[in-house]
Subunit: 309 residues, 2 copies
């Protein structure tokens, strides 16, 4: 790929946090775009992106960044999409592919679909990848390698545009899946949104206890708690917007979580050893499958500490 002609003339990235900067670095490394324009509202963030050399041109106004772009990717928290959409709609060209990296998709379709001109190829997307770090300095070109990117085309999306966008993500190292937006939101509610919510919750509980000090929570965190603090350190605004825009699917999956937790609590109260052991044995299987699918490491403690032979 690095030898041939770039897939796109000009990529405009609106928002340049962990995901935006990783796309910029990956697209440059693989020679997927001839030019990158970056827009972000914050002058500080824009200065960081410039200092890191992530793009070719830098703007605080998204309308200027999208001018002449044949690929536009929205990489801000999803709550900002509607405003950005209104700002850029009349500056998008006829052959432009407009996509995004938001963690919810029904809302994105509803927020942007109705206000986009029919000549724009709007194909919502979601690279299922990330770390707990945020900001333009957190990005790296390999973030998407071996991860899945889900595209949720509208009924009106042109198949040619969907295929070209899929090729772009594959070139960044992703596997690509096409999915209905509502199903995406349900799948991500259980694999991502509810896990984040309960991680934020347990960390919040531990932070507020009176009979156990914060120092004790920190000292003894290696016994399990610390695993939850990683995802509870994710970007607060991004996650606020996820819960504001995927409410129904999150409440549905959260309902199932609390139902099962109530049953588990009863097992603990009643001293139901057989029931506990049965659940604890069943849950081992899923981890094995995740490791086999290449979606996690088999190293003890995520390989945090090398096992010396």
């Amino acid at each position: 790929m690095a030898e041939g002609k770039p897939m796109f003339r000009k990529l405009a990235l609106i928002g340049i946090g962990l995901i935006g900067s990783s796309i910029a670095l990956g697209a440059k490394k693989k020679n997927l775009v001839a030019e990158i324009a970056i827009a972000t509202r914050s002058k500080e963030t824009l200065a960081k992106a410039k200092a890191l050399g992530l793009g070719n041109r830098y703007f605080t106004d998204p309308a200027q960044a999208v001018d002449g772009a044949d690929l536009v990717i929205l990489c801000t928290p999803v709550g900002a999409f509607r405003g950005i959409g209104k700002a850029i709609q009349q500056y998008l060209g006829a052959d432009t592919i407009l996509t995004d990296v938001g963690s919810v998709k029904t809302h994105v379709q509803q927020a942007l679909g109705p206000i986009m001109p029919s000549y724009v190829n709007f194909v919502p997307g979601h690279p299922v990848a990330g770390t707990e770090h945020s900001g333009p300095e957190a990005g790296f070109a390999e973030l998407f390698e071996g991860r899945w990117c889900i595209l949720t085309p509208l009924p009106t999306s042109k198949s040619q545009a969907v295929a070209k966008l899929a090729e772009f993500w594959k070139a960044l190292g992703s596997n690509v899946e096409i999915m209905d937006a509502a199903h995406h939101d349900l799948v991500l509610a259980i694999t991502s949104h509810v896990p984040h919510l309960i991680a934020y919750n347990i960390v919040g509980v531990a932070d507020e206890l009176e009979d156990v000090t914060k120092g004790e929570v920190i000292k003894y965190s290696a016994s399990g708690f610390r695993d939850f603090t990683r995802i509870a350190a994710s970007d607060p605004v991004m996650w606020r917007d996820v819960f504001l825009t995927n409410r129904d699917a999150v409440l549905e999956m959260l309902g199932r979580f609390t139902e099962d937790l109530t049953a588990l609590q009863k097992m603990v109260r009643n001293g139901d050893g057989d029931g506990l052991e049965k659940l604890f044995t069943r849950t081992r299987e899923i981890r094995r499958s995740i490791v086999e699918a290449g979606q996690d490491t088999s190293a003890a403690d995520f390989g945090r500490r090398a096992k010396k032979p």
Copy 2:
């Protein structure tokens, strides 16, 4: 330490899983004991321990292993302690230190305290360290380095024995804390037991869904879910026993978790963006403190994937 005289003549390890084998490897590496006797009920596990060269003598009968030992450490799931205590009580010598590595301490004191001869130095302990792997082949000498070991002496414990046991754990690389057993059980309920319970629960929920396939859960697990599967892959029998023996503290902390989760659920339902963002910002702080305290890595994704410069 490796040059001098070993601290103990003979160490007896009753149970030889992840923790027992890590103690054996660490004690040998640091020359802390002259001889190691290993006892485990399972002939298969004993054969593995022998093949790994973890000790000097191997038994299926714990009474034979403790004969002549000046340090005895119970490393089985805590549910087996009472039976082991009865089997070994009359074979323990007058200067013997008897300790354990169980994750609950009030129960251990109650199960073993009353049946031990007064000349035995019984000092319950808990190294707050582990991985999701289990069995004698999962152990490594460095497991305890930089982690905390909590000792919960009885009012009758001789301070000399407590100090000697503390030295042993320090020699294995641990920091040592002395704590009241009931407080230990409360602290570990929030830092370890409830986190494990909710991890087991979310993995159990994801495993049983009908509208989201298991294949989808596995594919998209990198978005958060996979973090929970690590601790939900921990040893089922050990964890069954934790919940059977630390019921009250677990139910207390679980109650606070569900109270806060109900409040959080309401924020999601009501679209309370400010409340959500406030919680998600507060929880970042604890992670920073844990990383600063050397209890976790600052590398993105626990360092699962190296960030290339």
